[in-house]
C-alpha cells in the first residue's frame, strides 16, 4: 500500500514548521512518530497534501520534571524514552505503568506521547493517562503558546482542538497537591491489538487521604472518558473497601462500550470495574502501611 502523493517538508526549526502550516492551512499535516499517521495514509484514510516532518526540529525530544511533581513531555519524546525513563517510576507512577503497554516495542521506538494525544483515538493509552493526571497540551502558533487541558483537547473520535496553524509542542502534567500514586491497566487480546478496555487511575494523597483523584477509561466509548463521579467518590477517603467498590461501580456506569469481537458491552463494563477495583486495592496497601 502506498500513501497518495504529497509534498514533503522537513523544517529544521519550529518557526519554519509554523510557517509551513500557515502557508498550507488544512492541506498540511504534522509528522512526528508517524505510527498512526503513516498507516492511515497508506489506507488512504488520511491524504494530506503537504507533510511537515518535525523529526529534524531540535529541542523537542525531552521529558523533564517540573518542581512540585509536574512533568513536561516534548513533542518528539518517544514512548520508548518514557518506558525506560529514570524519572517516571518514582515521580509519575500512572505514566510508568502505561508506558510499557503502549502499542508494541517496535512501534514504541518511533511513536510519541504528544502525537498519541493529537491522534485522539479512543483507544489511545496516553489520552486516558493524561486525562486522569489533569494534564494539558501546549500548542504553538504564530500567536504564541496556549495551554489546552486534555479534557478539552480531545474533542471527539480522532478529533483534537488544535487550530489549523497550531502545532502541539508539549504535554504537561501539573504539580501534585499530595503524594502521587496510581496505575494503568489494559486488557488486550494480544500485544498491539486495540484494547478491550483500559483504566488509568491517578491519585494524590495527603496524610493518608485522597486529595485529588483522576480516573479515565480507554477504548470503551467514542472518545476517552473521564469517570468524574468515581473520582468524586474517592475524595477524602483512605480507599476503604466500600469506597473502592463504589468507585468501581461508578466508573463502569460511565463507560459506553459497544459489543464487538473483543467482547460484549457488559463484559467490557465488568473489566472497567475490575481494573478500578484492582488498582485502588493495590494502592490502599502501601498507604495503610505508612499510616
Amino acid at each position: 500500500m502506498y500513501p497518495s502523493r504529497f509534498r514533503y517538508e522537513a523544517p529544521r526549526t519550529l518557526d519554519e514548521a509554523l510557517a509551513l502550516l500557515a502557508e498550507h492551512g488544512d492541506e498540511a499535516k504534522i509528522l512526528a512518530g508517524g505510527q498512526s499517521l503513516v498507516p492511515m495514509m497508506k489506507l488512504r484514510f488520511a491524504a494530506p497534501g503537504v507533510l511537515v516532518d518535525i523529526n529534524g526540529v531540535q529541542g523537542l525530544a525531552y521529558h523533564q520534571e517540573v518542581p512540585g511533581g509536574g512533568l513536561r513531555v516534548g513533542a518528539l519524546c518517544r514512548h520508548v524514552d518514557l518506558e525506560h525513563s529514570a524519572i517516571l517510576p518514582g515521580a509519575q507512577p500512572t505514566m510508568a505503568a502505561a508506558a510499557p503497554l503502549v502499542a508494541d516495542p517496535i512501534v514504541r521506538t518511533r511513536g510519541t506521547l504528544v502525537g498519541s494525544l493529537c491522534h485522539a483515538d479512543p483507544q489511545g493509552d496516553w489520552a486516558s493517562v493524561m486525562l486522569a493526571l489533569d494534564g494539558a497540551v501546549v500548542a504553538a502558533s504564530p500567536r504564541g503558546l496556549r495551554t489546552i487541558p486534555v479534557g478539552e483537547f480531545v474533542v471527539g473520535t480522532f478529533q483534537n482542538a488544535l487550530e489549523q496553524d497550531e502545532i502541539a509542542v508539549e504535554a504537561v502534567v501539573p504539580a501534585a497537591q499530595g503524594t502521587r500514586s496510581g496505575s494503568y491497566l489494559k486488557l488486550e487480546r494480544r500485544v498491539g491489538d486495540f484494547a478491550t478496555a483500559g483504566v488509568a487511575v491517578a491519585l494524590e494523597s495527603d496524610g493518608g487521604r485522597v486529595v485529588r483523584a483522576g480516573i479515565a477509561l480507554t477504548g470503551v466509548g467514542p472518545a476517552t472518558i473521564a469517570a468524574v463521579d468515581a473520582q468524586q467518590a474517592l475524595l477524602g477517603s483512605s480507599l476503604e473497601p466500600d469506597v473502592v467498590e463504589r468507585a468501581a461501580e461508578l466508573a463502569a456506569a460511565v463507560a459506553r462500550p459497544r459489543t464487538d469481537h473483543r467482547g460484549t458491552a457488559d463484559y467490557k463494563r465488568h473489566v472497567v470495574a475490575t481494573f478500578v477495583r484492582r488498582i485502588l486495592t493495590a494502592e490502599r496497601a502501601p498507604a495503610g502501611a505508612a499510616a
Binding site: R7, N55, H84, A103, P105
Partner: protein, 171 residues
Amino acid sequence: MTATEPVDTTSDTGAPTRRITVTVNGERRVAEVEPRLLLAHLLRQGLALTGTHVGCDTTNCGACTVLYDGAPVKSCTMLAVQADGHEVTTVEGLGTPSELDPVQEGFVAEHGLQCGFCTPGMMLAARALLNRNPDPSEDEIRWGLSGNLCRCTGYQNIVKAVRWAAEKEAQ
C-alpha cells in the same frame, strides 16, 4: 550498481522526487525517491535487499523490522525520505556468511524458524533487545519480541534462540 550511483525508484509520471543519502549496512547509498515511497520498498525494490519482508503492511506483524540508527522500526511505517542522513541495518547487514551474528547462530542452533518469513524481523528485534538488555529473562524476551508475529507460532524456539545468543555473548 555502485555506492555512488543513484538508485532511481521513481516512475516516469513526473511526480516530484528527492535525492536522499542513506547509510545501509555501512554503505552509503544514494537514491531518487518520491516522498511517498516507504522505507521497506526502498530497501526491497530500490536496493534489492529482499531480506526485509513486508507481511501485514499495517504496522502489526514486524516482519519488516530494520534498525534505524540502531533502534528497531517497522520499515513499512516509515518513509524512505525519513532515512535521509541516517543509518539503516537490514538482515543482510547483521552478519556475514562466514561470521554470523550470535542471534543468527542462535536461530540456527535452536531452530528458531519454520517458514522463515518473520525471521529477519525477529532477528533484528532480538538484536535490538540484546543491545539494550544483554541478559534478558524468558519473560523479557517474550515482551521484547511482542511486536513481531510468527505465523507458524514457533515462538518457543525463537525465545530459546535469543537466550542462546545472550549466553554466547556473555562468554
